[in-house]
Symmetry: C2
Subunit: 159 residues, 2 copies
DNA sequence: CACAATTAAATTGCACGCAAGTGAATTTTG
DNA sequence: CAAAATTCACTTGCGTGCAATTTAATTGTG
């Protein structure tokens, strides 16, 4: 039925279906997370990406924009306006680094620090909501890390 | 410190860390997928969400907007402008259902049909790029499905 | 030291994603 | 059958994501 060009490796129909299912599963799960967190984050006035930035800052209360971007895989085009909103909310400060004035150092305000405790209090366990064991959560995280690393490296540069 | 409402169960530190890692892993992997597909989709002039809509239509070439939304977990606020762009690209048609004039039926044009073959040709295997076995891909899809379903049901309605 | 190359943030433009509201058509109900 | 409730798509407004450009500061080079 089909020519067998040695190069054009035919991808099995099953594998193609699986890929499509996976790329959609990741896409839809990411949105499901955002929606699941929303009712809680609404109470403290954070969006989901803003929450991720706060998570990074709660680990290390003072970081340049670039480092935050590396941790979250986001560029300044996304972070600049987002950080400006966090600053307007009084959660962070942005100060030009005196050593290197190209950089902007982001740091938590007392209000931003305090929010960590508040969020910890109202945040329930996703693991429980998700009906997964701790082991499964860890497995999934590892698989996703591997998947992401390889997607980043290999990409789909294609022919 | 706080009243011990029997309900307020303390969540172990380790579990909280794991949750954060997982919610970020899903978030970042979704973006990695989008970036991985981009070089290929650029060649045919589709964005990633547009590609997902086309995937749905290639399975079933005629569907109401609502059904597409259900399959992709998107509402009309996202789909309406997206579908308008696909129509302007000449890939789909949108026609009011005569039986029920509230609905709009989306269908593929010949050009939209033809694009399936083209995309199939240039699309390489994510599985290979991702360095995962078929079995692992399947596992991950199942885990994500479960996770998503439970996130959707339970949400984090919280106290 | 001057000048090109590089780097960090910010800005601009476009496309989602989603809440909230609108308007038209259909279904439900009294 | 008429009024109320519901459904479907569209629109508006806001906050991401990201490519591409801009601006300012630093580094590298001759």
């Amino acid at each position: 039925m089909k020519a067998q060009t040695a190069k054009t490796m035919e991808i099995p129909e099953e594998e193609k279906r699986l890929e499509k299912q996976l790329c959609f599963a990741v896409y839809a799960t990411a949105h499901a997370f955002t929606r699941a967190y929303k009712p809680i984050l609404d109470r403290v006035g954070l969006t989901y990406p803003q929450y991720l930035v706060m998570l990074v800052l709660w680990e290390r209360s003072e970081l340049p924009v670039k480092t935050i971007g590396e941790q979250l895989d986001l560029d300044s085009g996304t972070l600049s306006p987002l950080l400006k909103r966090l600053e307007q909310s009084g959660l962070i400060k942005r100060i030009r680094d005196l050593r290197d004035e190209r950089q902007v150092i982001v740091s938590l305000t007392p209000k931003g620090q305090a929010m960590k405790a508040e969020v910890d209090t109202i945040m329930t366990a996703i693991g429980q909501a998700a009906g997964c064991t701790l082991e499964e959560l860890g497995e999934m995280r590892d698989m996703l890390h591997r998947l992401r690393a390889n997607l980043g490296r290999a990409g789909l540069a294609g022919g």
